[in-house]
């Protein structure tokens, strides 16, 4: 028996993306239910980032539909998608190294729907990551890798997203810090934010996710309840290093 699911907040239908003549995604379809953590896993070059880029409006799919809260957002400019409630913390952290920590956070709030909540969100970010508070006036370029990742997440939260896309938040971080980041992702999810999490670290990602999607060279190999995927022999062999 599958538990009763909330409504679908984000859904991709037959999305194909081309980079010139190279096809990055082949007819990708999946649904994200409100309140879930959905993880996209798969090897390098499998198309995980491309999927997130297509959702955020950074690349335009050649075919297919991307529905967010019931509206097709294909062709909507990237900055407008953020103001509709979908925000991405991109691969490689992607923070403004030439701006201070506080300035990065401030820009994260550019498209926030509720301007009143600005200070509360800033405080919440600093509460999640006290180190950022100490370094608020420091240039983001001077932060350590882990701190930069924290900033990327805190900044994304400033936009008060309904859906948060995280592209490999654990990349290049020490195990204890990864642990901490995953805990915080769960906390954010518990506060009501739907999360689409891209991870190389499939085992850990599937452990915190409700739903898992396995990518292989631009196609969805398999998808299902995260716990089921964790138990599947085939998946364990191919992706979890068993």
């Amino acid at each position: 028996m599958t538990p009763v699911k909330n409504e679908i907040v984000l859904s991709l239908k037959d999305v194909s993306v081309f980079y010139g003549i190279i096809q990055g995604l082949h007819n990708v379809s999946f649904d994200v239910h409100k309140g879930d953590i959905v993880t996209l896993v798969g090897a390098n070059g499998a198309g995980k980032s491309t999927t997130l880029r297509a959702i955020s409006g950074l690349v335009k799919p050649k075919t297919g539909q991307i529905n967010f809260k019931g509206q097709n957002i294909v062709g909507v400019p990237a900055h407008e998608i953020v103001s509709r409630g979908l925000c991405q913390a991109p691969e490689g952290r992607g923070i403004f190294l030439n701006l201070s920590v506080a300035e990065n956070m401030d820009l994260g709030a550019w498209a926030a729907p509720d301007k009143e909540a600005y200070q509360a969100n800033m405080d919440q970010g600093f509460q999640l990551f006290p180190r950022l508070k100490e370094r608020r006036n420091q240039l983001a370029g001077t932060l350590s890798g882990g701190e930069q990742q924290m900033l990327a997440i805190a900044r994304a939260l400033m936009s008060q997203p309904e859906v948060l896309l995280l592209d490999e938040p654990s990349l290049g971080l020490a195990p204890q810090i990864i642990e901490k980041i995953f805990e915080i992702i769960m906390d954010i999810n518990k506060s009501g934010v739907t999360i689409l999490l891209v991870e190389q670290n499939a085992l850990q990602a599937l452990q915190i996710a409700h739903h898992g999607i396995v990518f292989e060279t631009g196609v969805i190999k398999t998808q299902g309840i995260a716990a089921d995927l964790l138990r599947s022999d085939e998946i364990r062999k191919a992706y979890l290093g068993d």
């Binding site: 950074l58 900055h79 490689g92 992607g94 403004f96 190294l97 820009l107 498209a111 936009s159 290049g172």
Partner: protein
């Protein structure tokens, strides 16, 4: 000694106008990696906007301020002249901001995803377009600029060899340039628009992921840079005091050299480079070699490209992985 100070004053005044032009180059480069060759022509259009404003409305604006500020005949004329100059500069800034808006929208934005060389060629095209349509509309012969400050006495200090002459116009130009730079500094470093400009110049895609409308920020950058060039155009017109449609090309190139000297993309660098160039030119012409004055900027450009291509304050971005 007085001679030395005289050159310093000349150099600072000249450097101030270079800086206003150089800032536009450096801001647009910072955000689009484009050398906007049409920028010198925006400065020329600024000078002409000032010229026609003064020619057709100058007397009335002076009259207006004399009436509003009536405080004894002497001060009235000084204050009215200064206020008129400021008004004309503001009108020119607004006009040039609009020019910048249209140049960006019509010429550069359609090429946003094209190879950079297309953009560069377009910039040269826009520059030629303004030079030749300027000749068509304004005529190609130099036109005199009305002298607002003609009744103002220069301040003199010392006598004979030690005579130091400070021209009120030079003081006005320097003060206006510094004021505009301080305002710009405030906008860039202490407002949300400025923060967004720095974010977009760091990475367009990333900025758009924050919900920042990058195209609008780029347009705003063009408008701000163009308005500063417009202010410079009026002040140079008042100083030299002739303007013609090709007047933008040499100062434009010099200001570009100054921006490269300071480190292109860096606003503080553009100001520093401009003052260095202004002072160097003043000393070179003062101490014996005025014929080489116009070559100096290019000599500096070649030198800096050989020695430190990133410029004096050039940034090396270190990306952490």
């Amino acid at each position: 000694m007085a001679e030395f100070f005289q050159y310093v004053i000349n150099g600072l005044s000249q450097g101030g106008t270079y800086a206003l032009v150089a800032l536009g180059y450096t801001m647009v480069f910072g955000i689009l990696q484009l050398i906007n060759f049409a920028h010198g022509e925006v400065y020329m259009l600024g000078a002409f906007t000032g010229l026609y404003t003064l020619r057709f409305f100058g007397a009335r604006i002076v009259e207006f301020y004399s009436f509003v500020l009536h405080v004894g005949a002497d001060q009235t004329s000084t204050a009215a002249a200064v206020m008129t100059a400021i008004t004309v500069i503001l009108i020119s800034m607004v006009t040039c901001a609009l020019v910048g808006y249209f140049v960006e929208r019509l010429a550069y934005r359609p090429l946003r995803t094209s190879p950079r060389i297309n953009l560069l060629i377009t910039a040269v095209g826009v520059s030629l377009f303004f030079q030749y349509s300027g000749q068509l509309i304004f005529g190609s012969s130099p036109q005199p600029y009305p002298d607002l400050f003609e009744n103002l006495e220069s301040w003199t200090f010392g006598a004979d060899e030690n005579l130091l002459v400070i021209n009120p116009l030079q003081v006005f130009v320097f003060a206006t340039a510094i004021t505009l730079m301080l305002i710009l500094r405030h906008v860039i470093f202490h407002t949300r628009l400025g923060r967004a400009m720095r974010a977009v110049s760091f990475n367009h895609e990333l900025a758009s992921l924050m919900g920042i409308p990058t195209n609008r920020i780029i347009t705003a950058t063009f408008m701000i840079g163009s308005s500063l060039a417009g202010a410079a155009g009026v002040m140079v017109g008042m100083t030299y005091p002739k303007v013609e449609p090709l007047m933008g090309s040499l100062p434009g190139l010099k200001a570009f050299c100054a921006a490269v000297l300071g480190g292109i993309g860096n606003v503080t660098g553009a100001v520093l480079g401009s003052f260095i160039l202004g002072l160097a030119e003043a000393f070179l012409s003062g101490y014996g070699a005025p014929t080489y004055k116009d070559a100096l900027a290019f000599a500096i450009l070649i030198l800096i490209l050989l020695v430190k291509p990133s410029g004096l304050l050039g940034v090396h971005r270190t990306e952490k992985v």
